[in-house]
Each structure stands twice: as structure tokens, then as C-alpha cells.
């Protein structure tokens, strides 16, 4: 199955619930009026786009229809696609992979249960397939029971190295050791797992800053990617997560997982519209191939796909 097909399949529920419903509202013959815009607003909020971004989108639609002198409802879909595309386009971002022989270092962050460990496993597998031979995983979640074992099983399955400590150990030390080993053994990539933490926990965010500091000290440069893993079924709290994690350690990219699990994948739009951090990966399923680089055009294509009707 091609990536676009996977994406389409993964976003199917959102497509039906969001774009499908909007299409029904924008039926031919209907005029563009306040009631129509209200209905659109309702569908968008119901799709986790959030009040702020929905309001912005709807007022933009209103302006554009006025400027272009559009009056028919079925002309709005094209416009909507346009305004959504614009926002998603701005949020595109690529990994900063190193080419100077130094390892590319990823620090993976997020709240509990967002999918950090699985994301790391999928990324490792992905990079392995791309020909990166030496990948080191750091089992930095020393807090949650059996998190180290979980990453260990993945490391074995994918065939990459694991640096770990005992449960309850210092996550900064594990991260340091992993980077240290990667530098000494000239590994190409280091993926550092961290314990899930709610963004409002002061001490845990301080711990994160420390991990970041310790790793960068050993590296003698900045960490290449600090990725925030967001659960696609999360509502507007996703914005708070991104903001507060970014305040603690500047995040360089966002990974949105579990988009297949929701009919409300609209949360990606406020993430793209209100945050300055690029979205780098999107996940639409359980398989390793279901996590891929975020490309706005494909995404819009899948989101606005019409199923033959």
C-alpha cells in the first residue's frame, strides 16, 4: 500500500466526520449566509479544530467569499481547502539529519501515554531501512514500571543498541551514556526516550531541562531534534502541551500519533496554525510504515479526499 493510501485510510474517520460533513452542508444550490457559516463552525469545533482556529478559519472564508464575490455554498469547499492548506504548509518541517559524521541526536518528549516509546521504535526501524546501521536507543524512561524492558524488546526486534540503567536510575545519566557511546563508537543516530510527564509538573520539566543540558554538554553542541509526541485524540490540551514543553526545552518538531484512532483529527490544524513548531511526523496506524514525514500536500489530499461521491 502506498503511503498516500495508508494516510487516506488512517484519516478516513476524520475525513468523513469533518470534510464529509462539511461537504453535506455545502450542498449545491445553497447560498452562503450566516447560518451556513454557523453550521461550518459547529462541524469544525466538533472536529477538535478548537474555537480560536475555527473562528479564524470561518472569518477568512467569509472575507474571501466576499472579495471573490462568491455566493454559492459549493464554492466554499475549494476555499476551505485553500485556507487549511496554507496553515498546514507553514507547519511543514524536515528532520535536521547530520551529514558531518556526528550522530544525529533525537530527544523524544511527551505526556504519559502519547506514544513516545512506540514512536522511537518506529523511527529506529525506519532509519534502519534507510541504511543507518548504527543506531543507539537510550532507555530514559526510568520511572514507569517496565518501560526499560519495553524499549529493550523493541531494540532487539529492530536490531539496534540499547543503553539503559536500572529502574529508578537517573535519566540524564542514561542519556549521557548513550550519547557518549554513540560518539565513541561513531554511531549515526541516538534516540533518547524519556518518561511521560504532564506539562504542568514543575519538577519533571526541570528534570527534562537537565537531560537536555547534560546531553548537550557531552555533545558540545545542541541536540538536533527535540520532538514532542502528541496523541491525535487529544483535544485542545495539545496546545498547552506544546507551549509548556517548548518553554522548558525548545522543541524542534512535533509528532502526532494515533490519528487513525479519531474522527477528530482536526487538532492538527490549530497545532499548525497557532504554534511556531513544525510538524515532522504523523502516525496513522500500528505498523512501522504508518509513521511518516508530514507533508502538507499529501495530508490535505488525504483529508479532502472524496470517496467517489
Amino acid at each position: 500500500m502506498s503511503w498516500l493510501d495508508r494516510l487516506k485510510q488512517g484519516l478516513k474517520k476524520t475525513q468523513e466526520n469533518l470534510v464529509g460533513k462539511i461537504a453535506q452542508t455545502l450542498r449545491p444550490g445553497r447560498r452562503i449566509d450566516a447560518e451556513l457559516l454557523n453550521e461550518l463552525e459547529e462541524i469544525m469545533v466538533g472536529g477538535d479544530i478548537g474555537i480560536e482556529t475555527t473562528t479564524a478559519l470561518v472569518s477568512e472564508l467569509k472575507n474571501k467569499t466576499a472579495i471573490r464575490g462568491l455566493q454559492e455554498a459549493d464554492q466554499v469547499m475549494g476555499l476551505l481547502r485553500e485556507v487549511v492548506s496554507e496553515r498546514l504548509k507553514k507547519a511543514e518541517g524536515r528532520f535536521a539529519l547530520r551529514t558531518d559524521g556526528q550522530p544525529t541526536v533525537f530527544l523524544i518528549l511527551g505526556v504519559n501515554g502519547s506514544g513516545k516509546t512506540t514512536t522511537i521504535a518506529k523511527m529506529a526501524q525506519h532509519f534502519k531501512e534507510l541504511g543507518y546501521q548504527k543506531i543507539v536507543l537510550a532507555a530514559g524512561d526510568t520511572f514507569r514500571a517496565a518501560a526499560i524492558e519495553q524499549l529493550g524488546i523493541w531494540a532487539d526486534r529492530v536490531g539496534v543498541q540499547l543503553v539503559k540503567t536500572t529502574a529508578g536510575g537517573d535519566p540524564s545519566a542514561v542519556a549521557f551514556d548513550a550519547v557518549d557511546r554513540a560518539l565513541k563508537e561513531q554511531a549515526q543516530m541516538v534516540l533518547i526516550d524519556t518518561a511521560g510527564r504532564l506539562q504542568t509538573k514543575f519538577n519533571l520539566m526541570e528534570e527534562l531541562k537537565k537531560i537536555n543540558r547534560v546531553v548537550e554538554k557531552r555533545l558540545g553542541r545542541e541536540i538536533d531534534e527535540r520532538l514532542l509526541v502528541l496523541d491525535g485524540t487529544t483535544g485542545q490540551n495539545a496546545i498547552s502541551q506544546a507551549k509548556l514543553f517548548n518553554e522548558a526545552v525548545k522543541i524542534t518538531g512535533i509528532v502526532i500519533t494515533k490519528l487513525d484512532g479519531t474522527a477528530k483529527g482536526g487538532v492538527i490544524i490549530p497545532i499548525a496554525a497557532t504554534l511556531k513548531t513544525p510538524i515532522k511526523l504523523v502516525g496513522v496506524g500500528e505498523e512501522a510504515e504508518d509513521l511518516k514525514e508530514f507533508k502538507s500536500e499529501e495530508f490535505v489530499e488525504a483529508l479532502f479526499a472524496t470517496n467517489g461521491k
Binding site: 459547529e42 469545533v45 466538533g46 472536529g47 477538535d48 478548537g50 474555537i51 505526556v111 504519559n112 501515554g113 502519547s114 506514544g115 520511572f143 514507569r144 514500571a145 517496565a146 518501560a147 524492558e149 519495553q150 529493550g152 524488546i153 523493541w154 529502574a167 504532564l198 506539562q199 504542568t200 509538573k201 514543575f202 519538577n203 496523541d231 485524540t233 487529544t234 483535544g235 485542545q236 490540551n237 495539545a238 498547552s240 494515533k258 487513525d260 484512532g261 479519531t262 474522527a263 477528530k264 487538532v267 496506524g285 500500528e286
Partner: protein, 433 residues
């Protein structure tokens, strides 16, 4: 009850009142604010719609438009209505059978395994039950290991023998019967989404185990999808209650309202932290206020209770009562408060205080001044003469005038405390500008 919503509503309704008698249309305008607040809290939009309609009927029925404070009245109706939906049913677990089986279901990452362990601990320590845990998540790497470790930590046995999830579950039930366990908690595998495979597996378990409770474990941060998740599990499995996890963050938790409304099932417990004891019985009032954004005073109090030293706190109250509060106690208090994290973060939890800037450095200076005093000086500030003050100032890197200022504020605060004697713990402490 003062908070942003009340202010907004008062604002809207006041405006209309000045133009004459309040009308139904004015109320609609006001209710738009309620709608926004609920939507911002991630309550499902359909649930919001129904809810706002109901509030409107109630408000009209109670003649709120004639009231002198319609804004407050509307908020009261909103809050009561929320509480009703969130907590109209008894939230106690049904543990009448021996063993009572509790089946834990939910999506991946919602916190099933952690919630299972927390519940086991709760039942074992607070309800005095003999609890067995069953680890049937054979899918996620190390999930069984996770439950085993948690079981070990809380001192409760974990059963994990069997080749399929159903085998493990039925084996656990036999084991529980033979060994006279009171409660069997069955942790199950999650899926990324609700699919046939998952539901079929859970249905089979449901048949074989005949659980007393099927508890849906759901993430408090869930958005609009909460309705679908709750409905899907309820339709197929007839859940008996909900455990809402990760409520220790800043999510407003509108998902709670959505799920309670569409399933009509009670929220029984909430997860409020990472430790096994961080499970609490659900209080509808608190949740209602949280959804409405009425600050998180209760959360703040809880945080304080969890992190502050109780002996110190009691000591503090006693000293205030007896008017024996010294600079030594003041320093202890500052240190206690700082344990809770930066002050700006604390203030965010107090309604209306979210925007207040606090100069943390000023607090550092205060602490430095106190640290530069001897214990004797802190206990008896009256001994502080010019030369002592000079020493303290140079010791803490400030001017003598700063030391004087601190002493003056402390005196004022002490006077204030005298007046408060016998009342609750004073919130105003002698720091800040």
C-alpha cells in the same frame, strides 16, 4: 463564586439590563459564553448544545431574568446542571460477589495498567480487600512485566499464566476462587482505535468472567472523540463506570462531561498522579468547576497537602493562633511554599490571578536576608539593632533599608494574623512588594 465565566456573563447581561428588561434573546447571548467555555474545555459540541438548551429552560423556569444578579444565577444553574450530569449516580464499586471481577478496558495509552494497579492498591489498603491482578495484555511489549512490577511495588499478586488473553483471565478467575480473593482486577490490551478484534476479545472475556464492573479507562485530555470512545465501549460491553486519568495536568476535562452524558454511566475514580496511591474517588462538584475554568483552588490545596509537611503546617497554625509566629517560622513557610514550584505557576491556579507577575528574585532576596540572620535573631527580631542589621545586609547582599522593609512587612503581617486568629489559614503572607 467569582471567576471568568461569571464576569463574562455579568458583563453581557448587565449590558442588556441597562437597556431595560432582560429578554430571552439576551439570555441566549449570555449563554453563548457558556457554550464557548464548554467547547474550550473540550466538551463535545453536541453535548454542549443539549446542555445549553437545558440550562436555558431551567433559567427561564427559575425566572432568572428578574434577578438582580442574573449572571451569577445563570452560572449557578450551569454548575448545578453539570454536577447533576456528572454525578447523579452512585459511584461506589459493586463488590458484593466473591470474587468480584473488575474488567478494565480502554484505548492504548489511556492508562489502564497504571489505573489497575492504583485501584488494586486502593481496594487493598482503604477497603481492606484481598486483591488479585490479572495481566492479559499479551500484545504490547513488556505490558505484563509492567503490571508485575507495579504489583510488586504495591504488594499485590499478579496472575499472568496462559497463552491467550482469555486463558489468562479465566485462569486468574480460577486462581482467585481457589485462594479466596475478594477482588480480581483484569487489565486488558488496548488498541490504537476501537476495532472489531479488540471488541471481540473483550466480549469473550465479559462472557467468561461475568464481571461485576466493566470500567472504561479514559484520558482526561481526550478531545471531541471522547463521545465516540465512550459510546463504542458502552454499546458493546455495557460499561458500568469510567475512570478518568491524567487529571493532574491542566486539561479542563470536558471529556468527563461528554462521556457521562452519552453513556449515563458514572465516573467512579480519577487518576491524579503517577504514584500508585494517586487515585481518588470522583467528586462531581470539583469536576464541574474545573470544566468551567473556575481556577483550581481545590487542586492547589491538594497539591499543598501532598507536598507540604503536615507537622510544619499544624505548627504554623498553632503559632499564628498563639501569636508566636517568628521570622524562623516565616522562613520555614517560604521554603514550604517554594516546594510547590514557582509562584507564578501557583497563582495560575487561583481564579483571576493567572496574569499576576511575581518577582521570584524578590523572594530570593527575602530568603537570603532571613538566612543571614542567626536563629536567635529570627526567633527574637527585637534584638536586631543597627550593627546586626548591617551585618545581615552585607551577608545577604542587600541594603540595610531592605532589611528594615522586610521587618516592617513582617510586623504588619503579624498584626494581620492576630486579627485572623481562630480563622482559617491566612493566605496573605508578608512577601511580595
Amino acid at each position: 463564586m467569582f471567576n471568568v465565566l461569571t464576569e463574562k456573563l455579568n458583563g453581557v447581561l448587565e449590558k442588556f439590563r441597562r437597556q431595560g428588561q432582560l429578554t430571552e434573546k439576551d439570555l441566549d447571548e449570555g449563554l453563548r459564553e457558556v457554550r464557548l467555555v464548554l467547547l474550550e474545555a473540550d466538551v463535545n459540541y453536541k453535548v454542549v448544545k443539549k446542555f445549553v438548551d437545558e440550562v436555558k429552560q431551567k433559567a427561564l423556569g427559575e425566572n432568572i431574568l428578574q434577578s438582580l444578579t442574573p449572571g451569577q444565577q445563570v452560572v449557578k444553574v450551569v454548575r448545578d446542571e453539570l454536577v447533576q450530569i456528572l454525578g447523579q449516580k452512585q459511584s461506589e464499586l459493586n463488590l458484593s460477589r466473591y470474587p468480584s471481577v473488575l474488567l478494565m478496558v480502554g484505548l492504548q495509552g489511556s492508562g489502564k495498567t497504571t489505573a489497575s494497579a492504583k485501584l488494586a492498591k486502593h481496594l487493598a489498603t482503604k477497603v481492606d480487600k484481598k486483591v488479585l491482578l490479572a495481566a492479559t495484555d499479551l500484545q504490547r511489549p513488556a505490558a505484563i512485566e509492567q503490571l508485575k512490577q507495579l504489583g510488586h511495588r504495591i504488594g499485590q499478586p499478579v496472575f499472568a499464566e496462559g497463552k491467550t488473553p482469555v486463558q489468562v483471565a479465566t485462569g486468574a478467575l480460577d486462581h482467585a476462587k481457589k485462594n479466596a480473593f475478594d477482588v480480581l482486577i483484569v487489565d486488558t490490551a488496548g488498541r490504537l482505535q476501537i476495532n472489531e478484534e479488540l471488541m471481540a476479545e473483550l466480549e469473550e472475556m465479559n462472557q467468561k468472567l461475568e464481571p461485576s464492573e466493566i470500567l472504561l479507562v479514559a484520558d482526561a485530555m481526550t478531545g471531541q472523540e471522547a463521545v465516540n470512545i465512550a459510546q463504542a465501549f458502552d454499546t458493546r460491553l455495557k460499561i458500568s463506570g469510567i475512570i478518568l486519568t491524567k487529571l493532574d495536568g491542566d486539561a479542563r476535562g470536558g471529556a468527563a462531561l461528554s462521556m457521562a452524558e452519552v453513556t449515563g454511566k458514572p465516573i467512579k475514580f480519577i487518576g491524579i498522579g503517577e504514584k500508585p496511591e494517586d487515585l481518588e474517588v470522583f467528586y462531581p462538584e470539583r469536576m464541574a468547576e474545573r470544566i468551567l475554568g473556575m481556577g483550581d483552588i481545590l487542586g492547589l490545596i491538594e497539591q499543598a497537602e501532598a507536598q507540604l509537611d503536615h507537622a510544619d503546617a499544624e505548627d504554623f497554625v498553632r503559632k499564628v493562633r498563639e501569636d508566636k509566629f517568628s521570622l524562623e517560622d516565616f522562613r520555614t513557610q517560604i521554603r514550604q511554599v517554594r516546594k510547590l514550584g514557582p509562584l507564578t505557576k501557583l497563582l495560575q491556579k487561583i481564579p483571576g490571578m493567572g496574569q499576576v507577575e511575581v518577582d521570584e528574585k524578590a523572594l530570593n532576596r527575602v530568603e537570603a536576608i532571613l538566612n543571614s540572620m542567626t536563629r536567635h535573631e529570627r526567633l527574637r527580631p527585637e534584638v536586631l539593632n543597627g550593627s546586626r542589621k548591617k551585618r545581615i545586609a552585607s551577608g545577604s547582599g542587600v541594603q540595610v533599608s531592605d532589611v528594615n522593609k522586610l521587618l516592617k512587612r513582617f510586623e504588619e503581617a503579624r498584626k494581620m494574623m492576630k486579627q485572623l486568629k481562630g480563622k482559617r489559614l491566612p493566605m496573605g503572607m508578608p512577601f511580595g512588594r
